[in-house]
Assembly symmetry: C2
Homo-oligomer: 478 residues x 2
C-alpha cells in the first residue's frame, strides 16, 4: 500500500463536484432493486461462513512466497493468479503487460564502529543505490529539521531521521511516516550527506525493519538509503547520547534495467443485456509484494479476498446484471505501475466502469464504507451501506479516497468506493519480514470477503450509474 | 538461561535431605533480627523508587550490545562490568578467568528450491558446524518421532522437527522445547540425515529465530543444525503438505580454538566481625549473551538488577553483617562455563557462602520465593518471604531450583534461593535478535531490584546459616 497525494486530490475533486452541483442535466436517480438486496443478504451469510478468501491467500503466500516486482517469483505469481482464476471458475481470464524499472536487493548490513562496536539491523529502501559508506551519524528529530539543514553541512556524514510513526485505525500516521522515507534521502543529499538512515515507518517494536520505495529528486546523485528497525533506531539514539558515533552502512542493491510483469484479470460475466454485461464493477488488490516477507497483509489478502468475493458471486444461481472484474495489479509497491497501465489501457472505457474498490490495507475488519457517489447515486450508495451494516460497517460518506491502484484511473473520472479496514496493527507488519500468512485472522478475512461480495453484487445490480465519466482532472501540483 | 538437569537434581537432593532429616546434630535455629527486618522494609521502598537497575542494564546493552562468549564484545563487557562495579562504589572488584571452546557465527541462510522457491529465515544452533547442504525435508511432529526413525532412513535428507513450545509463567515449556534443540541433532545424525532443522524453541510468532547451544553425542559426525523462526516453520509445514520440498541450508559457523573470558566479581563488604565479613551472600547474573540480540532480558537484566540491589545496600548507613557478593558470570550460554569455574575456584569455601540466588529468567516481575533452606533455617526463610510479600511475591517452599550458574556449586552443597520471575513472555524474545533493551519494563525491573535487595540484606543479616555445607552430591546420570 502506498499513500497517494493523487488519491486525496481526487477525493477532494469529487467532493467539489458533488457540493457545487455542477453537473448540468441531473441524471436519473440510481437505485438498487429490492430483489438484489435480498440476494445480497444471503450472499453475505454464505461469504461469512466460507474460508475461500483465507485459502486463496494461503495458496499465494505459501506457494509463491515473496514476489517482488520483476523477480522470478513475480512471474510465478502471475502464473499462479491466472491458474487460480481459472480454478475458481472465472468466465474470462487474461493478462496485460506492465513494464517498469527493475530494482534488486542482494545484501545489506550496518555496524556501529569504535568503542561501542555492534551490528545494526536495517533494510535498504526500495530504489536505493548500493554502496559502502562510513561516517559520523547526525540525528534529526524529524524531516523538517533535516530539510532545514544548510547545504553542505553534512559533508561526509550520515543523516539520520528519528521520527516515531503514530498508530491509528485509519493509518493516518503513515502520511508523515512515509514522507520521511520518500523525501528524507533527497534532503540528506542536499545537505551533503553520504548516506541516509531513518527509523522505520512502522508502529512495532520488533527487530524487523520496514522497507518501501523512496525516490531521489532530479539532479541529485542518489546515496545509500536505509531504514533501521525500531529497536535499532532506539539503540542508535541512545548511543548518540553517549557521544559521536561512526557507522558503516553496506548496501548491495540497485536498479538493473527494466522488467515486464502483468496485471492479471478475471471476470464473472454479468447476466444482464449486452450493454450491461460490458459494464464492470472492478475490485482487486496488488499481486506484487516486497521481498522481505511473503506479502500476506500487503497484499496477498487483498488479492485473495477480492478473488473470493467474485468467485462466491459466480457460484450464485444467477449473476448480477453487470460483470464483476477482479484485477490483481502488477508492481504497486514501486510506483503504481499496474494501476497506471490499467488506466492507460482502459481509459476510453471509464464509463463502462460502474464502480471500483481496491483492498490494500491488510486483513483487518472493515469498519466503514464510503464512495465518490454523486448526488444522483447517493440513495443507492446508502442501500449498499445498509446491506453492509450487519457486518459492523458504518456508512461514512465524504471520507477516504480510492485505493492506490485505482487512483490513476480515478483521476480520469472513475467512480470509486472505499471499504475501510481496521489498520490499527497494519504498520506493525507492513513492508517487514514479518508480513506472513500466520498474521491473518480467518474470521476478519471472511468479514472482508462478505463485504466485498455484497458491495460488488449490489453495485453490479444497480439501475443507473455511480458517476464514472471521462472528466480529466488536472493532475495535482506536488 | 539454560535449563539444567543438574539444577533439578540438586533440588531433589535437597528435598531428600530435608525430608529424611538425615542431618545428625540439629543446628541452632537461624533467625533474622527484628532491626534488620525494619531496615529491609525501608530498603524495599528505596529500591522501588530507584531506576538504578534499569540504568545499569541500559548501559550494558547499549554501550556493549551483543556479547557472545569469547568475542571482542565479551572482553568489552568484562571491562564494562569492572568499571561499573567501581563506579557504583563496590568495596572490592576483581576478575577470575574462565576458559572455553570458542564458537563463531558468520552467516546463515536457507532457501526452498524448485517450484515454490523462497527464502527461509533461520539461525544456526550454537555449536553447529558450518556447511551447505541440499536435501529433501522430512518432517517429524516431535523429538520422539525422530528418535524412533530407523538408522540410515534419512540418508541424504534434512530432518525437521516441528514442535510448538508451550507458553507458561514458570517457563515449564522450555524443558521439552530445549530438548528438541539439544537432542534433535544427534537423533537426526543417527537416522542418517545430512542436516537438522527445528521450529525455534520459543513462544512468539515473529520472523526472529531462536538460537541456543546444542551438542552432538560422542562418536557422531556433527551436521549443520539450525532453528527456523515460527512463521518460517509454519510455512515449511504448509509447503510440505503440497508435496516433497527440497531445501538448501548454508551455515558458515563453527568452533575455532579456545577463548578466555572472566567472571567479574564485586563486593559490598559486611559490617560484622571478621568471621562474618568473610561470609558472603551471592547474587548475580551472566554477563555473556547470544550474538543475535543485545542480551537485555538474557541476561543484561540479571546483571543490572543484582548490581543495583547490592549497590543500594552499599548506600545504606550500615552494611549488613555479611558481605554481599555480586558475580557477573562468564559464558553461561554455551555450557555454564562461568558457573563451573566459580564452583571449582570457590569450592573449598562453600560454607562461607550463606545463600546464593541468580537472576536469569528475564525482567518480569518476581511472583514467588523459595529456597533450599533446611528445617533449622525455615523460620528465617519465612521471615525473608514475609519481607518480600509487599512486592506481590508469594512464599512457595519446596519449588524451583538454583539458577543455572550456581547449580554446579549447589551440587557441591551451596544453599540457594529462587526469586521466580514471571516468564510468560520470556520465550517470545529469548535467544532472538529481538532481545533488546526496549523490551524491559522499568517498573517490573525496579520490583526485581527491590526483591533482590531485601533478600540479600536479610540473608546477610541472619543469625545462623541456611545450610551451605560441603556435601558432595553424586552427579546425576544423564
Amino acid at each position: 500500500m502506498r499513500t497517494s497525494l493523487l488519491a486525496a486530490s481526487v477525493a477532494l475533486a469529487f467532493a467539489a463536484l458533488s457540493n457545487a452541483g455542477t453537473i448540468a442535466a441531473a441524471p436519473r436517480e440510481t437505485r438498487i432493486p429490492a430483489a438484489a438486496i435480498a440476494e445480497a443478504a444471503q450472499l453475505r451469510e454464505t461469504a461469512l461462513a466460507s474460508d475461500l478468501g483465507y485459502r486463496i491467500t494461503q495458496s499465494l503466500t505459501t506457494e509463491v512466497g515473496a514476489r517482488m516486482a520483476g523477480s522470478e517469483a513475480d512471474a510465478r505469481a502471475v502464473a499462479w493468479a491466472r491458474a487460480k482464476f481459472q480454478e475458481l471458475g472465472f468466465d474470462k481470464v487474461w493478462v496485460e503487460p506492465v513494464t517498469f524499472p527493475k530494482w534488486q536487493r542482494r545484501s545489506e548490513s550496518a555496524q556501529v564502529l569504535g568503542p561501542n562496536a555492534q551490528a545494526l539491523t536495517l533494510t535498504a529502501l526500495g530504489g536505493s543505490p548500493g554502496g559502502t559508506v562510513e561516517g559520523e551519524v547526525v540525528r534529526f528529530a524529524d524531516l523538517a529539521s533535516l530539510e532545514a539543514a544548510a547545504a553542505g553541512s553534512l559533508a561526509g556524514k550520515i543523516a539520520y531521521i528519528d521520527t516515531t510513526m503514530e498508530r491509528a485505525r485509519d493509518g493516518s500516521g503513515y502520511g508523515p511516516g512515509s514522507r520521511v522515507r520518500s523525501r528524507g534521502p533527497s534532503a540528506a543529499i542536499r545537505a551533503g550527506a553520504s548516506a541516509y538512515l531513518m527509523r522505520s515507518a512502522g508502529t512495532d517494536s520488533h527487530r524487523n525493519p520496514h522497507t518501501g520505495i523512496t525516490r531521489f529528486d532530479d539532479g541529485l546523485v542518489p546515496v545509500p538509503s536505509a531504514a533501521l528497525s525500531a529497536p535499532d533506531a532506539e539503540q542508535l539514539t541512545r548511543l548518540l547520547k553517549l557521544g559521536p558515533q561512526h557507522v558503516r552502512v553496506a548496501l548491495d542493491c540497485g536498479w538493473d534495467g527494466t522488467a515486464t510483469s502483468h496485471n492479471v484479470i478475471g471476470e464473472i460475466t454479468g447476466s444482464g443485456a449486452a450493454r450491461s454485461r460490458k459494464e464492470v464493477v472492478l475490485i482487486g488488490g496488488h499481486l506484487d509484494s516486497w521481498d522481505l516477507g511473503t506479502g500476506a497483509i500487503d497484499d496477498g489478502a487483498g488479492v485473495g479476498l477480492t478473488m473470493a468475493a467474485a468467485a462466491l458471486i459466480g457460484q450464485m444461481p444467477k449473476a448480477p446484471a453487470r460483470t464483476i472484474r477482479v484485477v490483481a495489479f502488477a508492481n504497486e509497491e514501486q510506483g503504481l505501475y499496474g494501476g497506471k497501465a490499467y488506466a492507460l489501457q482502459h481509459g476510453k472505457d471509464v464509463t463502462r466502469h460502474q464502480l471500483a474498490a481496491e483492498s490494500d490495507f491488510g486483513a483487518g475488519r472493515i469498519y466503514a464504507y464510503s464512495s465518490s457517489a454523486p448526488p444522483h447515486a447517493q440513495a443507492a450508495d446508502r442501500q449498499i451501506a445498509e446491506a453492509l451494516a450487519p457486518l459492523g460497517i458504518a456508512y461514512a460518506p465524504g471520507t477516504g479516497g480510492p485505493g492506490p491502484d485505482i487512483s490513476p484511473f480515478a483521476a480520469q473520472g472513475l467512480a470509486w468506493a472505499r471499504l475501510a479496514q481496521d489498520g490499527t496493527d497494519y504498520f506493525d507488519l507492513h513492508h517487514t519480514p514479518d508480513d506472513t500468512f500466520d498474521k491473518i485472522d480467518p474470521q476478519a478475512l471472511a468479514q472482508n470477503v462478505a463485504a466485498y461480495a455484497v458491495f460488488a453484487y449490489l453495485a453490479a445490480s444497480a439501475e443507473g450509474d455511480f458517476g464514472s465519466a471521462a472528466k480529466p482532472v488536472t493532475p495535482p501540483a506536488e
